[in-house]
Amino acid sequence: MTGYTPAQVGTVTKYVVVESFDVTPADLALRAYEISQGVMIKETCFGIVINGKEEVVNRIISELRKLDPDHIFIKDRGFPPGDPRRCRANLGGARPGYNGMEHEMTIIPYISHGLAELNNRDDNSIPAPENPLDHKALDIYELKKLIDAQES
């Protein structure tokens, strides 16, 4: 066993994912470079990855969000950009964890629509979604319809 000396200690890494008709990852990267102060920025196909001191990264992402607030999504990342343990340049194929993000990218347009709607509507006027834990009993009329369909 060998010793492990961590790199980039005391920094945070965040994904900035963009799913917008108006803003591209290149626009995001350009804006981030304009306002960056000693942070590492990597442009990717889905947005950018930013690594640096927490307060600086938070300031940059709050500025980036303003470009298109309903279509820019941010999450934490454990590894710094280009880490050989995660970077697909070293491993080949999709980066571990990308499949989950890819799945959520198909849902993000609905979320963006929801965020845009909430700018114009009061959230208390919107009905609650179905509770997935509720036991759904078969409606008696639905049952009768099924029986009738079987008998005819």
């Binding site: 060998t2 492990y4 990342r77 590894f79 993000m101 799945h103 629509h113 909430l118």
Partner: protein
């Protein structure tokens, strides 16, 4: 700011929503970062050392596979720390080997056992669902107020 555990713990949508509405998401990235940035013995890729399954004994019995206990050493402290939780029940992206699957079951069980505010949801399947989904999360996070 309230610490909100998100399930799936890698969810981009939940992580963003929680931070957007002013709270702190507890996701797997923060737990992984903690290990990646701590000096010790080389144990790639996640710096999960043989010590982690021992720590996992707090949440899973000794006969439970080491894979589950190792994963619980990441999620267990966050479950204890959280003051609220948002759970997505039809998260197909959280599939995996038996280690992941059983850990996911245990995470959901522990969250359901814990007496904290919880929001149970499914992923939206259309735009109208999306509006309800976002509104439900916003209402939930607003109702949490500030941390005790």
């Amino acid at each position: 700011m309230v610490k909100v555990f998100i399930y799936p713990a890698t969810s981009l949508i939940l992580s963003d929503m929680v931070a957007r509405f002013g709270h702190t998401p507890l996701s797997s990235a923060t737990a992984v970062r903690e290990r990646i940035q701590t000096a010790g013995l080389e144990s790639p890729p996640l710096q999960i050392t043989p010590e982690e399954p021992k720590k996992g004994l707090k949440w899973a019995a000794v006969e439970v596979p080491a894979g589950v206990r190792g994963r619980m050493s990441l999620y267990g402290p966050m479950i204890e720390e959280c003051e609220a939780a948002i759970i997505i029940n039809d998260a197909d992206l959280a599939f995996g080997c038996m280690g992941c699957a059983r850990t996911n079951e245990l995470i959901k069980f522990l969250l359901h056992q814990k007496q904290i505010p919880k929001l149970e949801l499914n992923y939206p399947k259309n735009e109208e669902d999306g509006v309800k989904f976002v509104a439900a999360i916003k209402r939930f996070l607003t109702s949490l107020g500030v941390s005790k």
